[in-house]
Symmetry: C2
Subunit: 506 residues, 2 copies
């Protein structure tokens, strides 16, 4: 590697250390920190983040980038050095375009908005949050203008989470998806509902932890380079490729809550643990995009963890772990129970099928907010109308409707679509893996997860941010992002579960 790339890398390393330190502090805040520590912790995080930002946007970074670009211009685009230069350049230009004054304004506004959102949600009063949301929309448009975009301001915001993907592409893909998804949900609704009573029995927390962590280890999550703790909202965080942690929360009266969140976060963590160690401590040591990250979580959670082969292997062990709750249950009834589809109000509790409609609704509304087509004050009404339209259910309160998610209060416009991008990407990847790996489902039914993990390591994990999401998909599948693979998967799986060939709406 050339000296100038080394110099760039050396300059970026302590910035990465600051970001990792901030991640440790944030992890502690959610897992173990006593309440009293909150005020000091906010100050410490703010200091670490602003030091990292200042050092990154410094002129020195630009000068080192210029020299390293010169030195790598003949290199293969997948070369570590060339990739480092390319991705750092992208981050740098983006960060430099946003004036410090706007960064500070956004930071202050989100901190106030988050408080107002909490209060508004507690008191079921959207008007408490509305003025703050207006400010955040205005500042986000200002940020988008500063960064620049091709077609619409939302492009610039989406770019932060999905480099290389345009709002128009997402819109097209989601249109296709919705056209087939709404009828699918309707068809399911016309069929007799699957029974999930057996999931609502007594499942002691220590047994849930023991069983779940055994499964995580089987899937390939390395507990010598990670650990699992408890937090109010499950998340994955990484302090290096050798220290990737996950969290969960337990519901002793509902088995899926912790178990599928473990597999979901485990999927994120397998990605982070699988990044090439040579990329550690650089901006390349992260997911290609939020959507690709989510694809790894959804692939393990849904395609593997909610599949029949998986439970062919694990159901006997699950019965052993919970003899009281599952003594009278069989594999078929359990498989049906964990795949029950039912339109509901709350996104984070939604099933695999209806989840996407929650996401599409949010995408449409936030795109409208940023384009000016949707006014903040009409948001609750628009929300409720879309819920009725897509899911046939209408929130009884704004707390269970427009106020349910934290994202907008954090100014994170462009984040929501990545959930469904991940779902679609997972299906595209799974089709490719099924093509490449013979007898994949039989192997999963034997508890053999190594081939699938190795395939993901080779094609996805190791590359970190070297490839964008579209590049990655193209290399692996030869295709662009598309809803078709997921629709094929959903029609087949839920068609069988709900016996949809019998349905009058088919």
């Amino acid at each position: 590697m050339s000296d100038s790339v080394d110099s760039l890398r050396d300059h970026l390393a302590p910035i990465n250390d600051l970001e990792s330190a901030a991640a440790v502090l944030a992890w502690d805040q959610e897992t173990f920190m006593p309440d009293g520590g909150a005020e000091a912790r906010a100050r410490q995080l703010s200091t670490l983040q602003s030091m990292a930002h200042e050092q990154f946007v410094a002129d020195e970074t630009g000068e080192l980038l210029d020299r390293a670009e010169e030195a790598t211009k003949q290199a293969d685009p997948l070369d570590d050095g060339a990739s480092l230069v390319r991705v750092t350049r992208r981050d740098y230009e983006r960060a430099r375009r946003v004036p410090s004054s706007l960064v500070a304004e956004l930071s202050k506004a989100t901190s106030e908005a988050k408080q107002a959102w909490k209060k508004g949600r507690e008191e079921d009063d959207f008007s408490i949050f509305a003025p703050h949301l207006e400010t955040l929309v205005d500042l986000s448009v200002e940020k988008a203008e500063a960064i620049g975009y091709d077609d619409e301001p939302y492009d610039a915001l989406l770019e932060e989470f999905e480099p290389g993907l345009s709002t128009a592409e997402v819109t097209d893909t989601f249109e296709t998806l919705r056209e087939d998804l709404v009828p699918l949900v309707d068809a399911i609704a016309d069929r007799p509902q699957l029974d999930d009573d057996l999931l609502h029995r007594s499942y002691p927390q220590d047994k849930q932890k023991q069983f779940g962590e055994r499964v995580l280890a089987d899937l390939g999550y390395d507990f010598d380079r990670g650990r699992q703790d408890v937090s109010a909202h499950p998340f994955t965080t990484s302090f290096s490729v050798d220290d990737v942690r996950i969290t969960t929360r337990y519901d002793e009266e509902y088995l899926p809550s912790a178990f599928f969140s473990m597999i979901h976060e485990g999927g994120h963590a397998l990605y982070e643990q699988g990044i090439d160690p040579a990329l550690d401590r650089t901006p390349l040591a992260d997911g290609a995009s939020l959507g690709v990250h989510e694809s790894q979580a959804r692939l393990w959670e849904n395609h593997v963890g909610r599949g029949r082969p998986f439970w062919t292997h694990y159901f006997p062990q699950l019965k052993d772990a919970f003899p009281d709750a599952l003594g009278d249950a069989d594999l078929d009834s359990f498989y049906r129970a964990i795949n029950r589809v039912e339109p509901s109000l709350i996104r984070v509790e939604a099933d695999e099928v209806t989840y996407n409609l929650h996401v599409m609704l949010r995408f449409e509304l936030e795109r409208g907010l940023i384009s000016g087509e949707v006014d903040v004050n009409e948001l609750p009404a628009r929300w409720n109308a879309a819920m009725d339209d897509y899911l046939g259910v209408v929130p009884d309160t704004d707390a269970n409707g427009v106020l349910q998610d934290v994202h907008w209060s954090m100014g994170s416009f462009g984040y929501f679509p990545t959930y469904t991008l991940g779902t679609l990407t997972a299906a595209q990847l799974m089709e490719a893996a099924e093509h490449d790996l013979s007898n994949l489902h039989r192997r999963l039914a034997e508890g053999e997860f190594g081939p699938l993990l190795d395939w993901l390591r080779t094609h996805v994990h190791q590359h970190g941010r070297k490839l964008t999401a579209p590049q990655l998909l193209d290399r692996i599948t030869g295709n662009e992002l598309s809803a078709e693979a997921w629709l094929r998967y959903a029609r087949e799986k839920f068609g069988a579960l709900y016996d949809l060939s019998q349905s009058p709406s088919e």
Copy 2:
């Protein structure tokens, strides 16, 4: 407060945030971090520490100090601003005098020495560690010369932990102590030994935790501003006055191990939680010295926690917690058991009386190393001779002798004496508290710890580093550091326990 003091404070705040962040990372390293995380963590800690150091020794700090000094020169020395300026000036001059090249050399040498010490200890081979120790001694002398001193290089090293105290004063105090302590230990050895069998029974960990944490809460440790976890070596750490954490380790076959370490660390933590919140996020938010810090740990651990009044209150509760182990025990036999005195090889396992001889031995040897009077190669022989002389026991191996402590491998010369300085200070403070608080021991026997804690808060805790250890002692007791109070306490307590008026050696 003047603008120039505010400017200094604003400049120091993010440096304090970096140090606090490093403390969180170090805490995680000892409590929860998976093994794989070690390498990245070392890098992250090194980055945070060197950024904090660089920002502190910057010329800007000196300029801000100059202006703030000018603005506070008429102020009361106990004024927050004047104290901030005075203490920061002391730290700054000290830090500026040590060249960066020497800081880097010491950092490298200690990291290598720690590995060598570990290996030497495992293989019971002092020669593995010896050359590294020689390097550390040389570099420490160099550091002492750079800092400057009045009488001998050791002064400059001691000053880091005990501002305002000279080697000569410590030597004099320890001489007085040793003259009376060695005969006391001999006298105890001539008497029938106290029986501590009942401590070596089965004490389940969860019950130990439950009982110990109830006691900690009773003493005044605020679990909303702290928490207790498990680590190999117990410690206290502070991320702000509102987030002060302790750790312990459990031995299910020996009750005192966890319990007295909890009270000990709890004493450190009560100090940190009691610092005036106005001093938080400044260099003043710390103990006056390591000795004063240790005094708070020893006061609660020994004067309170190993006292008869304490167990008059708690022994019935302890019996309830451990009915199997203590069903046949009574308060007297328990009180005797936890105060058994017995010369032994290992400092951290030593009782309240002989502990000081372990410390004095280390102080004499390390002072000799720094002055050149003791050669590294004769250290094992000198160690063993002193053990025989003071305690009448000789290590069977160097692993159980000169290689038992980590401190020298960290280049921490001047640290050891603070353990006994803390013991002596605790006794001086306790005499003053007994004078000020009527019926103190009766109140302790009723589980009423508030008056003692309030007294310590008022006289010691709240001031943080505003006063040095000698200033603090003078304000509270009108006296200098002295061994007399502790000798009075030990003669009375252990005289009664071992019935020393009957002893032929009295």
